[in-house]
């Protein structure tokens, strides 16, 4: 086996890896993040790693955000952040593999895992399923988690995310768009207190 040394010479600024299950929208979340970053004027790339269609199967999606054109199409091995849409994956999939030493973890869960305080990793825990059930009426944690990621890292702007969510969901009607933007904001706001605690 080989080890990915890191991307210093690749001019890629941020690499993010999403972990979810088929049907939870990990692929859409990655696409939305890339679209928002592109809206903000960055070069961006998003793509999935999955197999055939199957609800519930673990899957990964990758995003790169850069100030320079992104030429490589490899998977992300040393993410600067991972977004975990389904906390059950913590126990069954190598969701933290390759995460940079000071990397961000945006985790959809009611509480952080027992050992999380012990590491230098930056855990951002958001009850995104609960929030989305309240605001959207369904367990769709994507937009909440994107808000949390934006707040935690500052890599993508809230306005840009609002814009891409609005156009991505425009066919579902104004109510759905509005609710998702509320969910986005809720995720964003959920992180602010955690940030203050950390600093």
């Amino acid at each position: 086996m080989y080890e990915e040394k890191g991307n210093a010479a690749n001019n890629v600024q941020h690499e993010i890896r999403f972990h979810g299950r088929g049907g939870q929208g990990a692929v859409s979340a990655a696409a939305l993040l890339a679209l928002a970053a592109f809206e903000d004027g960055f070069e961006a790339q998003a793509f999935p790693r999955f197999g055939s269609e199957r609800r519930g199967a673990p899957l990964e999606a990758y995003v790169r955000i850069s100030s320079l054109p992104i030429r490589a199409h490899n998977q992300v091995y040393s993410p600067d952040a991972v977004v975990i849409q389904d906390s059950t994956l913590l126990h069954s999939e190598p969701v933290l593999q390759g995460l940079k030493a000071d990397g961000w973890i945006i985790l959809n869960s009611e509480q952080p895992p027992a050992d999380s305080a012990a590491t230098a990793l930056r855990w951002i825990v958001v009850p995104a399923t609960r929030i989305s059930e309240q605001l959207l009426g369904r367990p769709l944690p994507n937009t909440v988690l994107l808000g949390a990621l934006a707040a935690a890292t500052g890599w993508v702007g809230l306005k840009a995310l609002e814009q891409v969510i609005a156009s991505h969901l425009s066919s579902k009607g104004e109510k759905v768009v509005k609710a998702n933007i509320e969910a986005l904001h809720a995720g964003y706001q959920a992180v602010a207190p955690q940030q203050e605690q950390a600093s």
Partner: protein, 327 residues
């Protein structure tokens, strides 16, 4: 061999990767446990093949081979020829989805039947190419939303009707062809046992709902299958040597809306203007089936009420014939 349940062989055992509520997994478990592990299973490319043999793992506890998409019936023909040449009577069973039966697999299926191979071909029909992302097949019913027959400004979904495959198969004048579904296990059991008691080419067409592609709750697969039958959209029939030899009578006919409204793949028929016309078309198709096969007044052994009440009448456990009523 799995011995958790004395009546179940678990030919298809646990650990496979089907979606929750998968009608095909249900149907394949039913059919292969009724047949047992003393058989050779030839599988076409498709959902069943993918979710049972993912990446160096297998959920099969019987001899099993997968070649390519189109040729399962031809490969099975070869397996059968070899076994019979060696003087062995081992049953040969093909498992294919609607794609591997109605479309890309039709040529080899026809050849297998026409040449008279002693093979049972089972089609698990989820009415589209599900494994590749819900694209239409010729088995997809009229007006269904798939990714290659999307509703749009000038489209109401799939234009063509569901291909009447059982008639094409039966027109080969082969010994036995039947339709069945996961909602009526006693009926499916009787048909599998009948098929297994006959030599020559045999065919089973098993309607297998797909919560992902049909867009319904995973817990409703059996309900949806039952409604497909009770509306008349999926008649349960048997054909021998080209003629209808049996039908399951409908205890009552349900309107197609009851079936359509459970599934997101028909949702567009209830939002736009053109949808109502398509619902009328589907009702007409159901009514045609009922007339054609006499589904409301056939003089049959049992009807849809009986065919689903396995416990009460003792039919349709996995126990061997003769032990029925003992479960």
């Amino acid at each position: 061999m799995d011995t958790r349940d004395a009546h179940r062989h678990n030919v298809l055992t646990s650990g496979h990767r089907a979606c929750s509520g998968c009608g095909e997994a249900m149907a394949a478990r039913m059919v292969t446990d009724l047949i047992g592990p003393e058989a050779i299973y030839v599988n076409a490319t498709g959902c069943l093949q993918v979710f049972t043999t993912h990446n160096q793992q297998s959920a099969w506890q019987a001899p099993w081979i997968h070649s390519v998409f189109a040729n399962a019936a031809a490969v099975a023909s070869g397996v059968e020829a070899a076994l019979r040449a060696r003087g062995e009577n081992t049953p040969v069973i093909v498992q294919a989805g609607d794609g591997g039966t109605f479309d890309i697999g039709l040529q080899c299926l026809s050849g297998m039947i026409e040449r008279g191979h002693d093979v049972l071909f089972v089609c698990y029909d989820n009415e589209a190419y599900m494994n590749t992302g819900v694209q239409r097949s010729s088995s997809t019913p009229h007006a269904v939303r798939t990714t290659t027959t999307p509703p749009g400004r000038v489209s109401e979904g799939k234009h063509q009707l569901k291909k009447d495959l059982i008639s094409i198969v039966a027109a080969h004048r082969m010994p036995y062809a039947a339709t069945a579904t996961v909602a009526y296990f006693p009926d499916l059991k009787a048909k599998v046992e009948k098929a297994m008691s006959i030599k020559g080419p045999r065919f089973l067409h098993v309607l297998s709902p797909c919560p992902l592609g049909w867009d319904h709750d995973a817990g409703l697969s059996v309900t949806v299958a039952r409604l497909a039958v009770e509306t008349g959209l999926f008649p349960l029939i048997e054909m021998e040597y080209g003629a209808v030899s049996g039908v399951v009578r409908l205890a009552r006919q349900r309107p197609v809306e009851e079936y359509l409204k459970l599934q997101g793949r028909f949702k567009h028929l209830f939002t736009g203007k053109g949808g109502a016309e398509e619902v009328r078309h589907l009702q007409a198709l159901a009514d045609t089936n009922i007339r054609r096969y006499g589904l409301l007044d056939a003089d049959t052994e049992w009807d849809t009420n009986e065919a689903s009440q396995a416990q009460r009448h003792g039919r349709g456990s996995y126990a061997a014939p003769g032990k029925e009523g003992a479960s």
